[in-house]
């Protein structure tokens, strides 16, 4: 790195007072037109934008920023509390409206359930016509069963009754 490059990196720092020139560097700056041009450039660049600060009042800016921050903090707090209130209302409504858990269905007779769940593989393998016949048969049976009444003792003939009594008495 030559002397010009060294100075180039150092010029802004010297301008801001964070470092100082050594005697050699100061002598180089005085003799080198390119480094002097760069020095002037940095000086001019450092002063750029001053006009942007003329209308700026740091106190007013501080007030404006803190006002916005306070307003934002209030808004957030309000939103948070609004959410909390909303959730509380929703929960109360839910408790009020909800009928509770559905009652569990009464367990049916184990035998019936087991029968209903039994696979009827032999029926599944049958032809539709055969199934129709079975259904027709079932229907007949049902109708017969529905019309038949269980026989009572009064329906038996006296001789049949005598036989029954003998059987029961041994």
């Amino acid at each position: 790195m030559n002397q010009c490059e060294l100075l180039s990196d150092k010029i802004p720092m010297v301008r801001h007072g964070t470092v100082q020139w050594t005697a050699d560097e100061a002598a180089h700056l005085a003799a080198c037109p390119d480094c002097r041009l760069e020095w002037d450039l940095v000086m001019a660049g450092a002063a750029l934008g001053d006009a942007a600060t003329h209308g700026l009042d740091p106190d007013l800016m501080a007030q404006a920023v803190t006002r916005r921050l306070v307003a934002d903090r209030r808004r957030r707090r309000w939103i948070r509390s609004g959410w909390g209130l909303g959730l509380a209302v929703a929960a109360s409504l839910l408790l009020f409206v909800w009928p509770g858990r559905e009652p569990m269905p009464e367990p049916g007779p184990v035998g019936v359930t087991a029968t209903m769940e039994l696979p009827m593989a032999e029926l599944e393998g049958l032809e539709p016509e055969v199934l129709e016949e079975i259904l027709a048969g079932l229907g007949d049976g049902e109708s017969e069963a529905g019309t038949l009444e269980a026989p009572g003792f009064s329906d038996l003939a006296p001789t049949d009754l005598e036989q029954l009594l003998q059987t029961m008495e041994g």
């Binding site: 750029l48 934008g49 006009a51 740091p58 800016m61």
Partner: protein, 183 residues
């Protein structure tokens, strides 16, 4: 009569941020007073519309304080602030489709009793401002952060989300181009 407060007695940025986090709004105001002028100078000379500078400064501080939870303290608060400013400028730059206008105003001129020197300074400043407008955005911002704020390359890299080596290269490119323009 009380003694004037020495510079070293002023609370640091980190102390003020801690106080703000603990609910002290006045600490935020101190930070704004401390950094607003430097931020306005940077935004104004980097290409922000002059009429927008105050709003941008306010927005930078507002976002900086709102986002403090993401600020881990590894970098200076100033870097954090300028990083936000850089991002706002980038957005404005995109909205204007890359057009940068850096106006020359009398307020930017060096006060001098010699009219010849003032004219020369004005011309040089005019060429510099035109030249800044021609630089790529990153080169312009690196140049301004270095010459206006005296930031080391490491801090510039943090602000502009690049590496210190890249920041140094951007700076030297910018200086070379500007020298060619004002020569």
């Amino acid at each position: 009569m009380s003694e004037p407060v020495a510079q070293t007695d002023l609370p640091s940025d980190v102390e003020l941020i801690r106080a703000y986090r603990d609910g002290d709004e006045r600490s935020a105001a101190v930070l704004v007073r401390r950094h607003s002028a430097a931020l306005a100078r940077f935004l104004g000379s980097a290409g922000a519309d002059r009429s927008d500078v105050e709003d941008l400064v306010q927005e930078c501080f507002f976002r900086a304080f709102l986002g403090l939870s993401r600020w881990r303290g590894e970098s200076a608060f100033r870097s954090w602030l300028f990083r936000i400013g850089h991002n706002l400028l980038k957005d404005q730059f995109r909205r204007r489709r890359g057009r940068v206008v850096i106006p020359l105003e009398d307020g930017d001129l060096i006060a001098s009793d010699d009219p010849g020197a003032r004219l020369e300074a004005r011309e040089a400043r005019g060429r510099l401002q035109s030249g800044l407008g021609l630089l790529p955005r990153l080169q312009r911002e690196v140049f301004l952060l270095r010459v206006q704020q005296g930031m080391p390359y490491e801090e510039i890299a943090t602000v502009l989300d690049t590496t210190p080596g890249a920041a140094r290269v951007h700076y030297h490119h910018a200086v070379k181009k500007l020298k060619d323009l004002v020569r």
